[in-house]
């Protein structure tokens, strides 16, 4: 994966943009991780395998498994740099509640945080609970600044690591972390496409629907309780449905003739933006989820679709082919103040506004007619192509910390789900089961 930056300079655009900055600046937040942000060097001294830590699946012991998950979470947090302690010559002799003598040496080598712990099942009774202790040593204070003890069945071993990783991120940034977030997506089952939810790292996929036909493009509610999506009722009509994850209970939100696609709940959950062609061609609408009143947002002879809310909920990015091929447009959430955002290339679609507000990810068609991931600032001043290569990339969705994008990429027509950093680094495939996984949507953080 190469990182290719395309600097886009256009006098006319910058003039148009200058006005946008003046009037809509509130959606461009300062990023907590500024470009000069230095990642915090963190070492994991080990999660010791205590009695009964044999994993039910055999092979890897539970402590080791938790340690591996924790390492991956720490790496993906992008808040910490994972330091390999042995390569610094640090030999940890004892992992107890007190810091090991070697930690001071690690601190002198520039390691800011050292994490360790133990995991096991008391008495080795396989029906008893798994217990995991985690400790955090801060080099600045030269002391153990805190710890955690998690209790639960062996099936929550990964969750223990995820929660501990999020506690670390929270401690050092005040943000909740992404290790406990989920990704909703669509997976092919026979001739059907059903909704699934998995952990953010691709583990523990769970099937939500079993309709035997098409369910498309899920999006989360801001409280993570629901997904909204398009379903083909009786194969012939498209409705927008909502499903409650805890119960599987479903409601139909929009049912009318024509295409009813790309639903997206506003950040406050009070409005659903979606595209419908029931009055002719695909137009954007806004449904008040409390009063159930519907407001039409666009009026033109072309297709308008894929609304994505700005983090303030005051603006929408969307796709429109009113000028020929599809391009990304912005407008106020009441449908006023429409302006075109993308001018480069003849096919730009599927916008996703970053939760930090500073980027909009989308699918761009390159001069070689490849469909890749691009990002653009809402003022149009900067844009970058994040991915290269053969796959048809689609459906970008941001992590709640704004540091990653999850998307689908299809080689030979079969799609899998990947995540990539917002700067185009660390491409990582996260689905390995299922022959066709698409339309990922990253949950909010909790």
């Amino acid at each position: 994966m190469t990182f290719r930056a395309v600097v886009f300079v256009s006098l006319c655009v910058s003039i148009g943009i200058a006005w946008i900055i003046e009037s809509g600046a509130a959606d461009v937040f300062l990023e907590a991780t500024r470009p000069d942000f230095q990642k915090i060097p963190l070492g994991i001294a080990g999660i010791e395998n205590m009695g009964g830590s044999e994993s039910p699946e055999g092979r890897v012991k539970l402590g080791t498994r938790i340690e591996d998950v924790l390492k991956a979470d720490v790496r993906r947090s992008l808040v910490f740099t994972l330091v390999d302690l042995p390569s610094l010559g640090i030999k940890v002799s004892h992992l107890g509640a007190e810091p090991d003598a070697s930690f001071k040496q690690a601190a002198e080598n520039g390691v800011s945080v050292i994490v360790w712990g133990k995991a096991g099942i008391k008495g080795g009774n396989k029906d008893a609970d798994l217990s995991m202790d985690g400790y955090v040593y801060d080099a600045g204070n030269n002391e153990v600044v805190g710890g955690k003890r998690y209790i639960g069945s062996t099936s929550v071993a990964r969750l223990m690591a995820h929660r501990f990783a999020d506690e670390l991120v929270f401690r050092y940034t005040g943000e909740p972390g992404i290790a406990r977030t989920k990704i909703a997506y669509v997976s092919e089952l026979g001739t059907a496409r059903e909704l699934f939810v998995m952990d953010y790292d691709g583990y523990d996929p769970r099937q939500l629907t079993a309709d035997g036909f098409l369910n498309l493009m899920p999006r989360w509610s801001p409280d993570r309780r629901f997904l909204v999506f398009t379903t083909y009722r009786n194969r012939n009509t498209q409705d927008i449905d909502m499903i409650e994850l805890a119960t599987g209970k479903r409601w139909t939100l929009v049912t009318q003739g024509g295409l009813n696609i790309t639903p997206a709940l506003s950040p406050d959950g009070k409005a659903l933006a979606y595209s419908s062609s029931h009055e002719g061609n695909a137009e954007l609408y806004r449904l008040d989820t409390h009063t159930k009143a519907v407001q039409r947002l666009t009026t033109n002879a072309a297709g308008d679709l894929s609304p994505s809310w700005s983090p303030s909920g005051r603006e929408l990015a969307f796709t429109s082919d009113r000028n020929g091929g599809p391009q990304i447009f912005l407008m106020s959430a009441d449908g006023s103040n429409v302006r075109r955002l993308t001018f480069d290339g003849d096919y730009n679609a599927a916008p996703a506004w970053s939760p930090r507000g500073n980027w909009i990810a989308y699918v761009c068609r390159t001069p070689k007619k490849e469909y890749k991931l691009c990002v653009i600032t809402p003022d149009g001043q900067k844009h970058l192509q994040l991915t290269t290569g053969l796959g048809v990339d689609d459906s970008p969705s941001w992590s709640p910390d704004g540091r990653h994008i999850v998307f689908s990429s299809a080689v030979d027509g079969k799609s899998q789900i990947y995540m990539i950093n917002a700067d185009g680094k660390d491409l990582e495939r996260i689905t390995f089961t299922g022959i066709h996984n698409s339309a990922p949507s990253w949950s909010p953080a909790s």
């Binding site: 006319c12 003039i15 006005w19 805190g146 710890g147 955690k148 998690y150 969750l159 929270f170 909740p176 989920k182 089952l189 001739t191 059907a192 769970r206 079993a210 309709d211 493009m217 509610s221 993570r224 629901f226 083909y232 194969r235 012939n236 009509t237 805890a246 119960t247 599987g248 409601w251 139909t252 939100l253 049912t255 009318q256 003739g257 024509g258 959950g269 002719g280 061609n281 695909a282 159930k292 519907v294 894929s306 005051r314 082919d321 000028n323 020929g324 091929g325 599809p326 302006r339 075109r340 001018f343 003849d346 679609a349 599927a350 068609r365 007619k369 469909y371 048809v392 689609d394 027509g413």
Partner: protein
């Protein structure tokens, strides 16, 4: 949001006008949808739906976000950590005593659903083959009907006129290139172009319905131009069920 200073307007318009030539390849427009026909169809759909079905359903729960979800939120690192019990075996993000929002996450499986759908699709296929209906194929990015397509549709129109009780469904399909969402719109444009031409040929509009499958139900799964051209299609189906 402040209103746009009037002096900036010509500049903004300039941006838009200058931007348009960047779209070197525009979608080819067919005769397009006649707005009158659109409205007629929409009225037909609404009439079928009955009172109260127009637009939004009124009975779904309010999705307003009331704030952080305490059950799942972090408790912070502690010098003397108390035990934190993690919920059940369902891998939810929560701790015990919490709502465990994502706890169930298991499909309410209707095990017969897939089989029933398949049986209905097969019945439609059989009826469509028996009627001798022919499909219409499109070029890349386009929804205009070719001469060959017009020829195929004249045969279909003849069948429809001599079978006045038949309901025809026109499915719009796309090849695998491009985004899923935009291909749904393109598929609908294709299906509607087919419908409009059939109406021009005298088929009663209320006997025709359109549905777009975008690139979600391809006919051909190889990755060659000949396969792509098979998937850019207006597929005609005799409706046998609802």
């Amino acid at each position: 949001m402040k209103t746009l200073p009037a002096s900036c307007l010509p500049l903004i318009l300039g941006v838009i006008v200058l931007g348009i030539p960047a779209c070197s390849k525009k979608a080819v427009r067919s005769g397009g949808d006649s707005q009158a026909l659109q409205e007629e169809m929409a009225r037909g759909e609404r009439a079928k739906g009955g009172a109260g079905k127009e637009g939004a359903n009124s009975s779904f729960p309010d999705t307003s976000f009331s704030g952080r979800d305490d059950a799942n939120s972090l408790r912070g690192l502690d010098r003397n950590p108390s035990e934190e019990r993690l919920g059940g075996n369902a891998g939810n993000g929560g701790t015990s005593g919490g709502a465990g929002h994502t706890n169930a996450m298991i499909a309410k499986a209707d095990s017969g659903a897939a089989a029933r759908q398949l049986a209905e699709i097969r019945a439609e296929q059989v009826a469509s083959v028996a009627a001798g209906l022919r499909d219409v194929f499109f070029t890349y990015d386009s929804f205009s009907i070719t001469d060959e397509g017009r020829h195929a549709l004249s045969g279909n129109a003849e069948w429809a006129r001599s079978n006045p009780y038949a309901q025809l469904k026109i499915e719009g399909h796309c090849d695998e290139r491009g985004t899923s969402a935009y291909n749904l719109v393109l598929g609908e444009k294709r299906a509607k172009a087919v419908r409009n031409y059939l109406v021009e040929l005298g088929v009663v509009p209320t006997h025709l319905s359109v549905v777009s499958y975008g690139k979600e139900r391809p006919f051909c799964t190889e990755h060659t131009e000949s396969c792509y051209s098979q998937n850019r299609r207006g597929h005609l189906v005799v409706k046998t069920g609802k």
